[in-house]
Point group: C2
DNA sequence: CAGGGTTGTGCGTTATAGCGTACAATCGTG
DNA sequence: CACGATTGTACGCTATAACGCACAACCCTG
């Protein structure tokens, strides 16, 4: 029995309990046998992809939520201003939280300023939403020019950079990182 | 053979081709046998959870990305302003796109204005990031007061509402919806 | 060209996923 | 209390996941 099998055993029990379903009811909703559901919940069996898919549909959750729970609690969280360095002011609007796989920054880059960024981990997608000014984004080996109101997405698992094209005014953009 | 099995067959081939790995190399990286990888790619087998997990780790992708690809192409997308109605101006900064499971709105609500919202689908999480003004958010059967710079998350698969607490000035907030 | 290395497929074997059924335990009702 | 309904577990059977190995086809190098 593997760790993921154990984790999923616990998760399936959670999903079922949250809906107040018996094994029989869950079997009806998902099309997976009662006996098999029991085996999975006790960690005695590692379900196939086909069975996992049935479970996701029957429980009406996305595939990733089937495995990894989303924190359903409500609550405040803090935005945060990173101390300004030579060219950039970064305010973290939505800090990275594991269950949402998302992070959002409000970035201001001074007139003529530029910032390079290392690659993020494999598969991270970045969306740049220009709020004001003239911004250029470097990705896929070239610069892309953006105006206020423009938006641009690219893979952030490669080196990339931001540059304020104006020599007079700062530029401001929202930076959304989606980790999938 | 199920639809998801066929979909995954195609996806696994994609993942492997993208890295330029042979079946033997992929077997080494994932700990899943070459013969089994071949069976999966030809849609002849539905891998168990344990095997899926090994694949995710070996290919260094999140579990959901193992099944559903993220569009890796770069490109601009349009922000959009919804015509104002009686109390609200909505600008869609990031329209919903299926592969990111995310949507972002810039909302301005006039002095004293209020808006109720129906439930979204099961499991949607909403983050409200107040940019200016005094906002109250209704969720979990009660109102939560927020100031500029405050942020609040809650489950959006329940009825919820927004209200500008000020009778003098509009309030503005960013609204991030994460569908998981 | 021949030979060695690489690649993907097919086969047979073993372990286990998935099921229907039976049943013990528990619960609720008359 | 007895009885019926419900719930979760165990069992035996069938189908298939997963593997190691052999091999045909292809590619590259001397």
């Amino acid at each position: 029995m593997s760790d993921i099998q154990q984790q999923f055993a616990h998760r399936l029990k959670e999903l079922r309990a949250a809906r107040g379903w018996s094994l029989a009811r869950a079997a009806t909703e998902t099309g997976v046998s009662k006996a098999m559901l029991g085996q999975i919940e006790r960690g005695e069996s590692s379900p196939t992809l086909t069975t996992l898919w049935r479970l996701a549909k029957g429980f009406d959750v996305g595939f990733s939520t089937l495995i990894e729970p989303v924190d359903a609690s409500s609550g405040s969280f803090q935005t945060r201003v990173t101390p300004p360095d030579s060219a950039l002011t970064v305010k973290t609007l939505l800090p990275f939280v594991a269950d949402l796989h998302t992070e959002m920054l409000d970035v201001e880059i001074e007139a003529g300023g530029m910032r390079e960024s290392d690659s993020h981990r494999q598969g991270v997608i970045e969306c740049v939403l220009v709020q004001s000014g003239e911004l250029a984004v470097y990705s896929d080996a070239r610069w892309h020019r953006l105006q206020a109101g423009d938006a641009y997405r690219f893979r952030a698992d490669q080196p990339h950079a931001y540059r304020n094209e104006s020599q007079d005014k700062p530029a401001q953009f929202l930076n959304l990182l989606v980790y999938r």
